[in-house]
């Protein structure tokens, strides 16, 4: 798939709008998982663009704590038709802090890490069994890879030669209690996935055209699932929180939100 300049500009604009929505959710009554929502936003925008109009493909945000990023990306991508900011975390609305299929467009309840990866692999297997096109795209965090279930799913995907299964790793280097490298480091990710039997690609996780190009390549005939290591920055786009582990969960007031939104880059 070749992306036009107009399309690329439009997707980058969407990401900018979505970042402002995430900041507004952080200024709501609950706060939100800000850092991981901002790190994964560009991946989500590109993935939803790839799956747009393709009913055979599914996008699963397995790192469900980035729900604010998911809702924002769904809204700017036209999957949601109501602004999630006013409803995030509030009674009477399905915009929970971790997403569930109570919200149309969400395939699987995620937030307990690893399950979304296996679900997307199952979707890919279903398409293969049915002889149909379509990708199962899972987006996981690098901290999430500490969960054993992820590697069980990857083993199965490789064993079943699920060339239509794509696992995108939002490698922001952070997790709840600190940095991945300090808690349970996982160096050589691409080599690990390659050893499991995956094709691999590494990309700047904030370069939407580059991510889109990888997701747009046909997987037909590859014979191996694909792991995309997307190198990202926690809190990306908001200078005061960029790269800071403390941005994992943030609650701010409206004045700070206004300031931060003016800084979005």
């Amino acid at each position: 798939m070749t992306m036009t300049i107009d399309t690329s500009t439009q997707l980058v604009r969407r990401a900018r709008l979505a970042r402002a929505l995430v900041v507004d959710m952080a200024a709501g009554p609950r706060g939100c998982h800000l850092g991981g929502s901002l790190s994964v936003l560009d991946i989500l925008i590109a993935a939803f663009h790839r799956a747009d109009g393709d009913e055979g493909s599914v996008v699963v945000l397995s790192k469900g704590h980035a729900a604010a990023g998911l809702y924002a990306a769904m809204y700017v991508s036209g999957i949601l038709h109501e602004d999630p900011v006013a409803h995030y975390g509030r009674a009477g609305h399905p915009y929970t802090g971790h997403p569930s299929p109570a919200l149309p467009g969400v395939a699987f309840p995620t937030g307990s890490l690893g399950h979304g990866v296996a679900y997307a692999a199952g979707w890919a297997l279903a398409r293969k069994v049915a002889g149909s096109d379509g990708l199962g795209i899972a987006i996981a965090g690098d901290g999430e890879l500490q969960e054993g279930l992820v590697w069980e799913a990857c083993q199965i995907a490789a064993a079943q030669r699920l060339e239509n299964f794509v696992l995108v790793v939002d490698a922001n280097g952070g997790q709840n209690d600190g940095l991945v490298e300090n808690i349970s480091p996982m160096p050589g990710l691409a080599a690990r996935f390659s050893a499991f039997g995956f094709d691999t690609a590494e990309v700047d996780g904030h370069d939407i055209p580059a991510i889109s190009a990888i997701l747009g390549h046909s997987r037909v005939g590859k014979g191996r699932p694909l792991a995309v290591i997307a190198n990202t920055v926690k809190g990306k786009g908001i200078p005061p929180v960029e790269g800071k582990a403390a941005s994992h969960y943030v609650s701010i007031d409206c004045a700070r939100a206004a300031t931060w939104k003016r800084m979005i880059r």
Binding site: G64, T96, G97, P109
Partner: protein, 303 residues
Amino acid sequence: MSLSGRDAYRAELTALAEHDERIICLEADLGGKGHPFQSRHPGRFFNVGIAEAAMIDMAGGLAVAGYRPFVSTFAPFAVLRAAESLKLTLGYLGAGVTIVAPYAGVSGAWFGTTHHCLEDFAVVRSIPGLVIAAPHGEQEMRAVVRSAVTSGRPHYIRTGRNADYTSLPSADAQQSVNWEHAGHPDSVCLVSVGEEGTRLCLAAREQLSDLAHGHLCYLDHQHLADAAVELSRAHRRFVVVEEHRPEGGIAEALGLLMPHCEIVGVNVGHQWSSEGGDHAEVMARLGFDLPAVLAAVRTAQDW
């Protein structure tokens, strides 16, 4: 001002470890930054990362080697995700591992279904040999943690998120029934389980002061059998209040242990909570609130 259940656990364990070199503290990336045990005893604190089942099995190895491992992760991950580790390590092996599980019930509220746990009693009560406790308030949590260290038996300790509760005046966690109000033998007796169950029973007693109220801290079969003897000697009609599914809960267990008594359960029923809101709003949506307790009392009074 009391500490929340999980903060009380951390504070007590950190203090106990000053004089007990056997105590080891494990977390699975949900201990937060600035964990007091990590600060005070860094050589005996291990954040294993997001690996709950492995953490519990590893704790089994530590326990058999002579240590007193305490592991903590959110209740849904400890009990449901790592259920087999719990069964084999704490159950079959009988290893002296203590699991402290915050985010039980729907205390996770707006965080959603993945962060709720309404099935933990059903799972852990079916595993022989576990000591099960749902302490209410800081003092009761501290007492349960002390007992877990002393006994060396496998423990499951349920608590909530960040809310703090004041333990009942007589917070001797070891007694079968903590009688907040003994009441007249003919009065309906509230039986409170866990933090919110106890809060609701106290609220009901403010409106209906004649009600009896017995609080249960320990909830495994042996403790419940002892409690059933004491409860049924004192009263005939009970309302059991617990933030749990009806199946596998404490009302169901007491029903089997007290076949000649009348028991009404107040619980969260069978629905899933898929909306936002704070803890109280989510409980109310599931039918677990003060009006539900008072309605159950009226039902029991009509018997």
